[in-house]
């Protein structure tokens, strides 16, 4: 996993609430068995059907920070939503509320999802819409988002922060505790079901 410490980039203002993962990447793009190349599926319907959709606008090309409305990532658990955002070039998503599974998936996969008050999101939208060249900095070291006129701390638990800063794979971390897992298995109730 790629490390995340401080990222600075231009931002895309996505003024919509309840952006579900079916919108982030429609189901038809989930049929692949590969792990990369999902950028064509990102917001595919909106990109196809609405020429004015933010990602179709030339001034937002090459942006790497997504500033989204509340309840971003609701619905299906598809991690393809995270992959599509990353494959397209986004490093971080800012919102006042994320759906749980999407948030978990993003932080496992190295896409930093940052929770900010809606009032700060509103200010970022205004700043970026006024000048699309505006750069937004997401600083995981100091847990702070900075942009012209904005300096806002954000919360992220120490463990997740450390994992992202180090770019550590969760499975390798857990496999350090194989003995604990084996001991736990000794205590499982004998009548619990098995599938084989």
């Amino acid at each position: 996993m790629e490390k995340f410490d401080v990222h600075t980039g231009r931002a895309v203002p996505l003024r919509a609430s309840n952006v579900d993962t079916d919108q982030i990447i429609p189901a038809v793009y989930l049929k692949r068995v590969s792990r990369t190349g999902f950028e064509d599926g990102l917001f595919a319907e909106w990109r196809k059907s609405d020429p004015d959709f933010v990602l179709n606008r030339p001034e937002y090309q090459g942006a790497s920070v997504l500033v989204a409305g509340p309840d971003f990532g609701t619905g299906s658990s598809r991690e393809h939503a995270v992959w599509a955002l990353q494959d397209y070039g986004f490093k971080t998503v800012l919102s006042s509320r994320f759906a749980d599974i999407f948030r978990g998936n993003s932080l496992k996969g190295g896409l930093l999802t940052v929770l900010l008050p809606q009032e700060v999101i509103d200010r970022l939208w205004e700043a970026v819409e006024a000048d699309p060249a505006t750069e937004v900095t997401v600083d995981l070291v100091d847990r702070e988002v900075r942009a012209p006129g904005v300096r806002e701390p954000f919360e992220l638990d120490d463990y997740t922060r450390w994992r992202l800063l180090e770019g550590l794979d969760d499975i390798a971390l857990t496999l350090r505790h194989t003995d604990d897992i084996a001991s736990f298995e000794e205590t499982r109730k004998p009548w619990m079901p098995v599938t084989l």
């Binding site: 919108q23 049929k31 068995v33 009548w191 619990m192 098995v194 599938t195």
Partner: protein, 468 residues
Amino acid sequence: MARTMAEKVWEEHVVRRADGEPDLLYIDLHLVHEVTSPQAFEGLRLAGRPVRRPDLTIATEDHNVPTMDLLAPIADPVSRKQVETLRKNCSDFGVRLHPMGDIDQGVVHVVGPQLGLTQPGMTVVCGDSHTSTHGAFGALAFGIGTSQVEHVLATQTLTMAPFKTMSVTVDGSLKPGVSAKDIILAVIAKIGTGGGQGYVIEYRGEAIEALSMEARMTVCNMSIEAGARAGMIAPDQTTFDYIEGRPHAPKGADFDAAVEHWKSLRTDEGAEFDAEVVLNADELSPFVTWGTNPGQGVSLDSEVPDPASYEDPSARAAAEKALAYMDLKAGTPMREVRVDTVFLGSCTNGRIEDLRTAAEIIRGRKVADGVRMLVVPGSMRVKEQANEEGLGRIFEEAGAEWREAGCSMCLGMNPDQLKPGERSASTSNRNFEGRQGRGGRTHLVSPQVAAATAVRGTLSSPADLVAQ
């Protein structure tokens, strides 16, 4: 200290607890399907890791599978490849698979409980958000992403951030024609699609206790539509009776020992929840959605709401956008909304009781002209049972299409899709834009409303048929 059921199940599964780190939890059952697993198996292969507990893992094919012409190869080459990949992965890693043609093939959340694999007090995960279904047994069950699927395959554990607890108490009793689906749609409309965020919900109260096991699954299934991590219902005699005798249920003295343990899982007297919500079942009526998220629902007796009536500007904008997409006008009575398609099925409402309920309404009647009704059983075993009970014939005689098992039009990954502009009444769980097919418009409904709507061609309740 008095504890909730969710806290008890969590505590029983802590493998490792360390300061400043999330708990490492043991996973008792891992359900696998073709869409969210290929990259996880590939990850294992690349790292040279085995599946730690194939005996706690089970797979089936559901999201992509066609629901007709099962003997022909899957027409879509990409879908076919994904199904073939699952077959190879299960074979390579020693995981039991119920493939197309197997009597236990079907929607993964129908198959687990039907086999008796889902039991109270277990931790159950699957790379699918509707894993919350299994919480109906008093299991802690949640949807996970593909990285976590790989983590569970490799370690049989997950690191989990702590959750908050919410009780949703439903007092009173449901009126005839009102169902579990209406309870959960009303809950979501009340607390919103983000209202459950960070919570494990425990559904309780008289109306919940009166529900059958399958109806409880319908309620827990849609916990995710309220944003919750999971939904649970305390196990009781209804639960034990449902499990007893199923292929993977404990037998004899083991069953008695299991029941003793299961009884201890109930939330203690005096345990406190972080949030509490109360509904009265007597006040509920058949519920339908009008918008493009599951929280945008109203009583069938009501009208399409006016976006101007929302004070919150973001909710108002969402309502305006939804009405434009759904091609609906504020003030239109919901009963006047005409549909082209009725979909009866999915992990929400594709079980035998759902089919019985709908068949009872549709028996001796015809699907309205110009309406297509798809009936898709949740599993091949459900289909077999429905045929034995004569339900399949009732659907066919009414003019409905009686299909094979799968997720089907719930998410339209297989050929069962709405065409642009088509409108459905659907017993599934999501009315998102394009969910059932590009440009398709979805109204979420109960099996009762689905059946009545198929007959009348407009959103209807069974009571409307009697009046006819």
